[in-house]
Assembly symmetry: C2
Homo-oligomer: 230 residues x 2
Amino acid sequence: MLDVSLIANLPPFADIAKDALQDLLKQAKPVRFNRNDYIFSAGEPADSFFLLLDGYIRVVRVTPDGEQVIARYISAGELFGVAQALGRDTYPANAVAAADCVVLRWPGDIWPEVISRSPTFATNTYHMVGERLQDAQDRIVEMATERVEQRVAHAIVKLADQTGRKTDDGIVIDFPLSRQDISEMTGTTLHTVSRLMSAWEQAGMVKSGRQKITVTEHDRLVTLANHPKE
Amino acid sequence: MLDVSLIANLPPFADIAKDALQDLLKQAKPVRFNRNDYIFSAGEPADSFFLLLDGYIRVVRVTPDGEQVIARYISAGELFGVAQALGRDTYPANAVAAADCVVLRWPGDIWPEVISRSPTFATNTYHMVGERLQDAQDRIVEMATERVEQRVAHAIVKLADQTGRKTDDGIVIDFPLSRQDISEMTGTTLHTVSRLMSAWEQAGMVKSGRQKITVTEHDRLVTLANHPKE
DNA sequence: CGAAGCCTTGATGCGCCTCAACGTACGTGG
DNA sequence: CCACGTACGTTGAGGCGCATCAAGGCTTCG
């Protein structure tokens, strides 16, 4: 049996009674995924929602002509795939394991009951959606007003802050991340990202290798990210 | 006294008991705004939420260096300014009357009570937020993958569908909308928008004058919007 | 009637995409 | 464990889409 301590300290479940959590856990099914596995795909019936216990997940939209756009990265402790709760009957995007993952899965139709049983969960998730909406709007503003260099800097700073692990060299992003991934987060090409990374490495602000990025001078990167056009 | 029929048929209040609506209305205060008035500004304490009864409202973000980005347009019947319900204590954007408006205003702190009294309202608004999140994500994808011409076409088609009035000439957008406004919706400049509109007018797809746009060939505009590069 | 706001149109330049070629690290199967 | 194939990364050359700069016309309103 899964233990309540697994999830009791996670933001989505803040302030929820222990026995309510116990109940919730009884209905959850733990699942493992290997890197690059699909947790769900866009268009599938949205019959479950999920909690990420360990690993990282990439949420990706694909355009009609096959281009990929990364909507967000999910870190451990976050809910995802809550499409049904938001009134959709299919998932709007793909969810791919960006690293090996452990996930809890619930049947989507218990959501209304959970909400009504635990008002705190209701407001917690309400706030979560609010934050994601906020996030999305921020990105729209970025895309509309910033140049590529700033957007890429922003993206990397955000990932470093969200997932970074401290090392001797600096802050390293905790999962494999390619130039192409970054370009799909920022609406540019892998070529441009590569050039930027080379320049920044030259300047001593980052170190980077194959699918691996270390931020060595966080502050300068932030400055760059906020620097309006010349 | 305000009559229940004012709001009973609006989507946010679908399936809510008449007496609950009556209660809700008692706490609402109707307010008028003239075109270009501010309903609220970014950064102000989010102490109210609103329903638009008549008119149109533009939700605008302003960047640190003064550039404007239009997040969305609100049409009659929609809720807006629900920041507090989403866990924010200040409004994240400006709300400006795009036309003369009539608005209902509620104190934000009654939200939790309304939610608990009317589960239907809770799910209705949950879905509304879900739709807006969806919308925002769609726009991110657009900004990341489409060229200016397609984005502008998309924006105009959306506005025509959302607010259009049928006339002999075609579908006319129901409120004053300048080239600059369109450029702030799509992340381009008023110059580029002007050139596009001229070209489209030449081609017979739209007619446009000072802050006024009529879509004469909806289908061709949609085709243009969906046409991938070359 | 003047001033301010909105729109148009041309000329110019550059940021970034595109196309192309090559180098390098990974992992997989014999 | 090595060899090969594939995925990832780098760097250059060239060109185009769109921002920028500039100037002028038209409408609306005080």
